[in-house]
């Protein structure tokens, strides 16, 4: 089993965090993992993406150029990365932020109004997790149980209350039919 996952959007959208959760899930399952961020010089609002490789074999290049799973939170990234998705791959796109649609038919694309869903449910900045929920729902690569463990590992004590919010966001994504 090898997953090459790319998450992409603006800085500040929680791209790296979402990738980290996936990486931790894989860690709990004893996989080989690499997680590689790439961002511009801006603190917020700049291009930001994250490559996550999960495999049973040692990982060579950690850079995901042709993802089989793409999570994408803004228009420019949608345009830049959808063409590179491997045939048979899956795309999870935040349709609150992205107007475009792809006409590729060799991949599956899920349009989730993630930002809207998050906002509507008082989960501001939760779009990343909403999309993750959808991804897990569609691929089943990790259970929500495992994600909760990853969240626990990656949430400082004084922000522990956010864990439940994030689990809610996950569920929102999973439940979204769209």
């Amino acid at each position: 089993m090898t997953h090459e996952i790319l998450l992409a959007g603006f800085g500040g959208q929680g791209i790296l965090f979402a990738g980290k959760l996936l990486a931790y899930c894989a860690l709990f399952e004893g996989k080989e993992i690499s997680w590689l961020p790439s961002y511009g010089p801006e603190m917020r609002g700049g291009k930001c993406n994250c490559s996550v490789c999960i495999s049973d074999e040692p990982i060579g290049s950690p850079q995901v150029l042709e993802p089989d799973l793409l999570v994408v939170l803004n228009g420019p990234s949608f345009e830049a990365f959808v063409p590179n998705v491997k045939p048979g791959g899956k795309v999870f796109a935040d349709s609150s932020m992205i107007d475009a649609k792809t006409d590729r038919t060799d991949i599956e694309t899920f349009y989730v109004p993630a930002t809207q869903l998050a906002d509507d449910n008082n989960l501001a900045k939760g779009a990343n997790i909403v999309l993750l929920g959808k991804l897990l729902h569609e691929t089943g690569i990790f259970t929500f149980e495992t994600v909760r463990k990853a969240l626990e590992k990656n949430t400082p004590a004084k922000r522990a209350h956010t864990i439940d919010n994030n689990m809610r966001a996950l569920q929102l994504g999973a439940d979204y039919a769209g």
Binding site: F10, G45, N74, G75, S96, M97, T115
Partner: protein, 68 residues
């Protein structure tokens, strides 16, 4: 007669302009995101604007134009 207008795609929704207006007629709308995904500032009551440009002075992104 004065007119404050926000350049939709330049506004970053930082809200600094909203604090500067002596007439308190600048606010953030939650209807439509611009291409950066931002809910932008707008003038809540054009008739009250005195064109003082305080909002524009405060805007870090030159996103406000004032006409008079």
């Amino acid at each position: 007669m004065a007119k404050m207008s926000v350049i939709f795609d330049r506004c970053k929704g930082c809200e600094l302009c909203t604090t500067a207006c002596p007439k308190q007629i600048v606010a953030i709308q939650h209807e439509k995101r611009n291409k950066e995904g931002v809910f932008t500032a707008y003038c809540t009551d054009e008739s009250k604007c005195i064109g003082c440009a305080m909002c524009a002075m405060m805007c870090p992104d030159c996103a406000i134009v004032i006409e008079k």
